[in-house]
């Protein structure tokens, strides 16, 4: 009998990944930022590095486990000042560090004066993951934020992005990195990051959203079929095969539904329709198809469904 080493409780919890919902918009934004930086460095032959400082919140919990985005997560509201401090002592742009701070809408309200301090000490980039609720503690409805007015008033140039448009956002971030290097204070509001809430809201209104579709030539699908064939013909050989072939869409979009090819887990965000892979589409309507603000366009969805 082979003895199996049982991991200690602390080892088990450490290794347990923090899981975000498959459609989580926040994960797609942070991945788009990373991709935007990669594209900027490639096009400009630059060597910028990301120092990503985050507040606690579901928008930031995913970062460090599998994607290596988040460098530090501290308490609600601390991140703007931690980022400012890190900018001073990392050397900032002198050492090719671009310091980016990410907060949820709750943390933004927690320390709006920290944001103001940061705006007055540029360059700075602040990403707000706005899910319209304090999701981590049960989904209480927080204060209403008018970022366009408030952000400008405290000294930021404010940009809104649709969190589910990965490719588009990567290009937006590539451009904003240039602004950062021009010593600007930038606020990026990812509007409506909780696909779960949005979907539920639409469902209550009788709107049905579409789910992802893989074409037959998707490398993963082809490979899965090959595995099934070998499993039938030569089960021993199956052990030598890795369990997947590509999975880039799932990894980049941080989507467990895609990773496991399970449409029943899809939250209908539609990010895969905007991902640069010909094998992947999403049935409309989905959250990525709205033009700017998913939350604000729920009414539009409702009308569209009524028209049908």
């Amino acid at each position: 009998m082979v003895a199996v080493a049982i991991p200690k409780p602390e080892e088990r919890t450490i290794k347990r990944p923090v899981s975000n919902c498959p459609g989580c918009g926040a994960t797609k934004v942070s991945m788009a930022l990373k991709e935007g930086l990669r594209r900027y460095n490639k096009e400009n032959k630059a060597k910028l590095k990301l120092l990503y400082v985050a507040d606690r919140g579901c928008g930031n919990l995913q970062g460090w486990h599998e994607y290596g985005i988040v460098d530090t997560i501290t308490n609600m509201g601390m991140a703007p000042m931690v980022a400012l401090g890190a900018k001073y002592s990392s050397g900032g742009l002198e050492n090719n560090y671009m310091v980016v701070c990410a907060s949820g809408d709750g943390a933004y309200n927690f320390n709006i004066n920290g944001m103001k301090i940061a705006a007055q000490d540029p360059p700075s980039m602040y990403i707000i993951y706005d899910n319209y609720a304090i999701r981590m503690t049960g989904g209480q409805i927080g204060l209403i934020n008018e970022y366009e007015i408030e952000g400008k008033a405290i000294g930021f140039e404010v940009y809104f992005i649709n969190p589910y448009r990965y490719e588009e956002n990567a290009e937006v971030f590539k451009g904003l990195i240039g602004e950062y290097l021009n010593n600007k204070a930038i606020m990026v509001v990812a509007d409506g990051t909780c696909s779960r809430d949005l979907r539920a809201q639409l469902r209550d209104q009788g709107v049905k959203l579409g789910t992802f579709i893989r074409r037959e030539d998707c490398k993963d699908v082809v490979y899965q079929k090959e595995r099934e064939r070998i499993a039938k013909e030569n089960p021993e050989k199956l052990k030598e095969m890795p369990p997947f072939k590509c999975r880039l869409c799932g990894i980049r979009l941080r989507c467990q539904a895609l990773l496991e090819n399970d449409p029943s887990r899809c939250y209908n965000c539609g990010a895969c329709a905007h991902y640069d892979c010909e094998s992947l589409t999403c049935a409309e309507p989905n959250l990525a198809m709205v033009t700017e603000h998913p939350k604000k366009y729920i009414e539009v969805f409702k009308r569209m469904q009524g028209d049908d």
């Binding site: 606690r56 308490n75 002592s89 004066n113």
Partner: protein
């Protein structure tokens, strides 16, 4: 080889606040931040003057002479006060700076095995970025707050203890207004820093040598990877004494390289990360801190004074009481009376509040027949009294502990003499 800058300002009047600033400058502090208030405002005020911030003229001999010398030497100093708006912001700014370990320093105080305990989980050890003879180092940082700042900034201060060893090199200076002169509460922040945050805590006793406590605590705590707190009361903050002010400034620490090494395992404070850290903190880090503070008790500006070979009484005089005990020592008649009343005791004259130097105490108890311990401390927490009780119970020594502390700071209004109190407190 550390580069030291020597500056002799000559004999001058110096306050407790300036003495704390002096200790920080001698340690080579580069980042200073605060959201101050009475009685501690002048610590950051001094830094703002030295950093030539607008609106902070060098209008006293201390800042004028020191500022000129530091400018000439190219001392690097960042000072942030008003723009930080409150204590949580000031502490968060400090935290952001302290996590940037872009340089290294030689290992001096800890053994290679202790290095593993403190740094073994960091990226520096895991990826062999440094050898066991090298400690990751960043800027030294000073953050000063008044006692109420301990309440508002508690969120950040407590988080600091979840990212050990990254807070090494940070000092939080707290001005305690225990007599309620300029605050809405009369507070004893020792209970916050020592018991709630579990941060090494000192209470300085005299502007003449407070800088020694601050400077040497930077040296040791940086290597142990913990932040430390320095508390002063109202009297200490504003009292001016005449002293020979000779600086010996650690310029190597001041000129450390800037940089950042990503280590999310240690810098992400969410449940799965902090649970094993909390366990390690209780099980390994705090015992190690106790051990190192015992080993370096005198280096940290504390004294053990033995009046006899085999004393039966132990007297602990901490912070403000230590100053009055020094007055007793300087007067032959009073010292004689003290010795008679306490039967030639052993005296622990300390700035250190927590952790209790258990090895030092244990040695005294094992070598003597101590049956009574008198604890003189200021503040309502009676922290050292309870810590001493805990020490005696844990080690099963047969001795009584007498609480002789004063719950607030009565000196300014009541002209209360700690000398008389010490003398009258013997059983």
């Amino acid at each position: 080889m550390a580069e030291t800058l020597k500056i002799d300002l000559g004999r001058m009047a110096i306050t407790g606040n300036q003495a704390i600033a002096r200790g920080a400058i001698e340690a080579g502090v580069r980042i200073t931040c605060a959201y101050p208030g009475a009685p501690i405002s002048d610590v950051q005020n001094t830094f703002e003057s030295l950093a030539s911030k607008p609106g902070f003229p060098r209008n006293n001999p201390f800042t004028r002479k020191l500022g000129e010398a530091l400018d000439k030497a190219g001392y690097d100093l960042v000072a942030k006060w008003g723009e930080l708006t409150n204590e949580p912001n000031a502490l968060s700014f400090a935290l952001g700076n302290i996590i940037c370990k872009g340089d290294k320093k030689p290992r001096e105080f800890i053994t290679p095995e202790e290095y593993d305990t403190i740094y073994g989980d960091t990226i520096f050890a895991k990826k062999n970025l440094l050898t066991k003879d090298e400690i990751p180092a960043g800027p030294r940082v000073m953050c000063s707050i008044k006692h109420l700042g301990g309440n508002t900034g508690a969120d950040v201060a407590r988080t600091l203890m979840n990212i050990i060893p990254y807070p090494g090199g940070l000092c939080i200076a707290s001005g305690d207004d225990r007599q309620g002169t300029a605050s809405q509460t009369m507070q004893d922040n020792k209970v916050l820093f020592a018991w709630h945050f579990r941060m090494p805590t000192f209470e300085v006793h005299n502007p003449v040598n407070a800088h020694v406590t601050v400077r040497n605590a930077y040296e040791l705590c940086e290597e142990l990877g913990v932040a430390f707190a320095v508390i002063e009361n109202y009297n200490q903050a504003y009292r001016e004494v005449t002293a020979d002010v000779n600086f010996e400034i650690d310029m190597t620490a001041n000129k450390r390289k800037k940089g950042f090494v990503s280590d999310p395992y240690n810098l992400v404070t969410i449940g799965p990360q902090i649970r094993p850290k909390e366990k390690r903190h209780w099980g390994k880090i705090i015992p190690l801190i106790r051990e190192k503070f015992s080993e370096n008790f005198e280096f940290l500006n504390n004294e053990v004074i033995r009046y006899s070979e085999n004393p039966t009484k132990m007297v602990i005089v901490n912070g403000p009481f230590r100053e009055d005990f020094n007055y007793i020592r300087s007067d032959e008649a009073k010292e004689k009376e003290f010795k008679e009343r306490y039967k030639d005791p052993v005296v622990i004259a300390s700035d250190l509040v927590w952790p209790l130097p258990s090895k030092v105490y244990k040695k005294i108890f094992e070598e003597s027949s101590i049956d009574e311990v008198y604890v003189f401390e200021e503040g309502y927490s009676r922290l050292m009294y309870f810590e001493t009780l805990d020490f005696i119970n844990t080690n099963e020594f047969d001795a009584r502990v007498r609480n002789r502390g004063i719950p607030y700071e009565p000196r300014m209004y009541e002209r209360f003499s700690y000398v008389d109190h010490i003398m009258a407190s013997a059983s």
